[in-house]
Symmetry: C2
Subunit: 235 residues, 2 copies
DNA sequence: GTCTATATCATGATAGAC
DNA sequence: GTCTATCATGATATAGAC
């Protein structure tokens, strides 16, 4: 069943303790098992709520999934725009450094991973995995939530890098999204690879990830331009 | 039911026309709907085969999924190693250029997307999406298929970049994997973003993707090293 | 608002005729 | 090798008591 942004019973934002427990449980389980791999039974079991509670509070499983993402993405994107606004106000018309823009977008996301109030690493993992999931309604959900923000940041980057063609920046922004999505989705595995097995080193890991990913992203963003001459004909 | 590499009836490699149609249909459908989102009924329907044919030829749905990946990854990784071997033989002990190594690994993958004999863009999309999917058995399948190859390439990169710390290269290799996975998984969407809507421009799109992604990856790989001093304590 | 009980459907797998 | 028919299971969603 398709749901508009306001469901039949008028609940889109958690108004009860049960609804919030459902959101938390869904977020945690979907980060581990994927969205399709998480059943309503698993969610209500973990949240110590009744099977019917999902339908009551969110209209359907789909409504619950949307609410899980909205709760975090609204906060994230507001924060991103707020940061970019501040940077631009401070610069008074002079072009911003690309590193500042990249940090406002990707750094804000990564710092969410250390903010338990906003889902922490769990939501980061969920978001990363979702970004390549081939679900129609998720695609459109993420697109809606992100579209305006991404447009703003692309514009800022284009102004910030006058020597890089506009089209190239659009592609590279996409590549940056990919590197980030994968890095946060596979944080568990990567932590093992990096030899950090204990929970206590998780914080340190997130700091390392942030610093290292950021320099990687900037290196890619400012890389020498590709030779597209062979694009005309296959070599 | 768990399957070893040889199933009860002894079929792991397609020996019949039906088995091959099943592999093709599964590959196509899973690229679009995801692995969990693709049912055996969908596959047999598309392949014009019977419901029971999957069990007969591959033992289970899981066996079929494994066969889909093995068919392509075996070819891909053989090709990668062959290319790297040739480069090293040609260099006669002198260090390889990083761009050559990156091309042997990622370029070979991207060129698969223009090789219909090896699944073309369809398999690329499936692989990209799968790399962030949180399925246990897929994780281990990909790990098995990739482990030895990735080790070889990491070693080659470390030798090729003596000024970059070993750990940094490992992280950056992971970031490169992510940027690539996302780029090939979202090829549809990206094509739309880039303004290429017609099927006829798909080839040109893949060429552009290849050139642009490659320069991005190399830029990230050779980026200035991050400042990790703030890693000790949270800022 | 929360529960139990149930309706309805789709899934993966299998048995057994041909 | 291929089919039909069927199984057990688990999914979402809902009706109706409390």
């Amino acid at each position: 069943m398709l749901l508009s942004s306001i469901d039949p019973t008028g609940h889109t934002v958690p108004e009860s303790a049960t609804a919030e427990r459902l959101l938390d449980a869904a977020e945690r389980l979907m980060a581990t098992h994927g969205i399709e791999g998480t059943s309503v039974r698993m969610i209500t079991g973990e949240a110590r709520a009744n099977i019917a509670s999902v339908t009551y509070h969110f209209g359907s499983k789909e409504g619950l999934v949307q609410a899980v993402f909205r709760r975090r993405l609204d906060w994230l994107n507001t924060e991103r725009l707020r940061t970019l606004d501040a940077l631009e106000a401070e610069a008074r018309g002079t072009p911003l450094k690309p590193s500042k823009i990249v940090d406002a977008f990707f750094g804000t996301l990564l710092r969410m991973g250390q903010n338990p109030q906003q889902g922490g690493a769990v939501f980061l993992q969920l978001l990363g995995r979702t970004m390549t999931e081939p679900s129609q309604f998720i695609d459109s959900l993420l697109a809606q939530e992100h579209e305006a923000v991404i447009k703003r940041f692309k514009r800022a980057l284009i102004q910030s890098l006058p020597n890089v063609p506009k089209a190239e920046i659009v592609w590279r922004f996409h590549f940056m999204l990919g590197a980030t999505a994968y890095a946060i989705a596979g944080a568990d595995q990567l932590a093992v690879i990096a030899g950090l097995r204990t929970k206590s080193s998780a914080d340190r890991y997130m700091h390392q990830l942030q610093a290292r990913l950021m320099s990687f992203l900037l290196g890619g963003l400012r890389a020498p331009l590709p030779d597209l001459s062979s694009t005309e004909r296959s070599p």
